[in-house]
Symmetry: C2
Subunit: 300 residues, 2 copies
């Protein structure tokens, strides 16, 4: 890290354990450059898994998706490397606007889960694990339907659907983006209550909900009503964000899971962070960057 | 955390992802109470593994132990939950002084590795994984010999040996303790060069070396020569520690992997930490605890 003084703080140790004073690097991780400029990092490499197996699974509800996640963890342990939730609305946007995508399951389930299991033992083991967990999920009524790709091309096509979701919202008009996380068990409650809040504030708005279910992290985006003018929707941006963020916080969650604060959420952070935490952040900023020259106007 | 002002900083979030400003809790983890008093923590629970299998493996050298670790990781992935290195000298201390221990392998290998594999699939899977990795290690000459406990009582007896090592040094007289870590690949070089340093400074001293190989963390302890008076050994304490710590640092390691700084290593930290890091630690201390009332005299 290059500090505001121009000094270089070197903490590039390749150690799993080091207990020599304060863990300084943690202060700069996620500080968005407001305390110093990170110029190098040490990465730990792990062996590439010998096998991977993907599955696209249809479920009835976010609660069913959570039950599927629990089953996947029980079968795959730390081999579960992806568990992505996809709502039918945003999937519909992608199928309508992104060329070359094909619907994975018919009839369309209300929610889909894209899960991937990696195995250090090989392809057969990864596939057997996914087959066993899906057999149990189908028998228990946790999953409605599932498709397993049997080639890399098919697997790539499923991932392409997931990766198209962000762009697919644009042709549907104005979209208010939210990047929330809540404790895993509260995901279904969050979705149900947020949907009700949004419909009350913006009747006809379409919820484009998808995200990293395994992390409790949802991109809970709100697209304008179909066919209506964007200008009529824009004034609702602040009220919708406030309601979505307030609900996430009320459920012990966060209003920024992975995107950070930047300029856009600076006021929201100031309004919602615990005062003791906010005061300590400001004291750290004043101590390390008293002249305020590091990424000014961001975070705090 | 209770801050020096008496204010309570509440950061008890149960989230895997949260990017809202500085990650304040990291400042207090490992600060040894010098910035505030940690009064509560959130723990993430993971399912208890359905099966476990232990093995005590004899190897010829630290380099062979490292090769065994790599094999174990390839076979067990993240299921490898323990990989402890035990030198013959300290094992001999334990067998001589701790009642009820039995030597696991005859003839005694120069080094032993206690490794444990956990499986979310069950006992059979854990045992099959350990048997497969040992078969490969024995065939490749990485392991000399191995014993697999076949009951919980036998497994407990092997762990009891490992857990006796700290106490077993006491009846052998004065012991200088060091808690170092180096990048994994440098463990063999560290042991070889440290042994030479210690023998040059303290001829006849006995190296009680054991630790958490998977973490690159060794308790590299130095017991006085057998039968000699402790008073003749004590004056060497500082020079031996300095040499051991200097070598660890020269190999990109640390002089405190898990035990922290406290009072004992405060001067060593001040003498060896990079000046920019040390100055930043002191600035943080002065900012958060300007009156110096939190665990005074420790760390800095």
């Amino acid at each position: 890290v290059v500090l505001p003084t121009g000094e270089r703080l070197d903490d590039l140790r390749r150690l799993r354990k080091d207990n020599t004073g304060y863990d300084l690097k943690q202060l700069f991780i996620g500080a968005e450059g407001t305390l110093g400029v990170i110029t190098a990092a040490v990465l730990r490499l792990v062996p590439r898994p010998r096998g991977r197996q993907l599955a696209w699974v249809g479920v009835a509800s976010p609660a069913a998706a959570l039950a599927l996640l629990a089953l996947a963890q029980a079968h795959a342990g730390s081999g579960l490397v992806a568990c992505e939730l996809v709502g039918e609305t945003v999937l519909g946007f992608a199928l309508a606007h992104v060329p070359g995508l094909r619907r994975p399951l018919e009839p369309p389930p209300p929610w889909s889960v894209l899960l991937e299991v990696a195995s250090h033992r090989g392809e057969d083991d990864a596939r057997a694990t996914v087959e066993a967990l899906l057999a149990e999920a189908l028998a228990a009524g946790v999953a409605r339907d599932a498709v397993l790709p049997s080639s890399q091309a098919q697997a790539d096509a499923l991932w392409r659907i997931r990766e198209s979701l962000s762009d697919a919202q644009r042709p549907e008009g104005l979209s208010f983006k939210h990047d929330i996380a809540v404790p895993l068990a509260r995901i279904p409650e969050f979705i149900e209550r947020a949907d009700a809040c949004v419909q009350a504030l913006a009747p006809g708005a379409r919820i484009a909900c998808f995200g990293h279910l395994g992390d409790g992290n949802l991109h809970y985006n709100v697209s304008q009503p179909a066919g209506a003018p964007a200008a009529a929707f824009e004034p609702l941006r602040g009220a919708v964000a406030e309601a979505v963020h307030a609900l996430a916080l009320a459920l012990d969650g966060t209003l920024s899971a992975e995107h950070g604060i930047g300029q856009l959420k600076r006021e929201a952070l100031a309004a919602t962070a615990p005062p003791v935490a906010l005061a300590l952040m400001r004291r750290l900023k004043a101590t390390i960057d008293p002249a305020g020259i590091m990424n000014p106007g961001k975070v705090l």
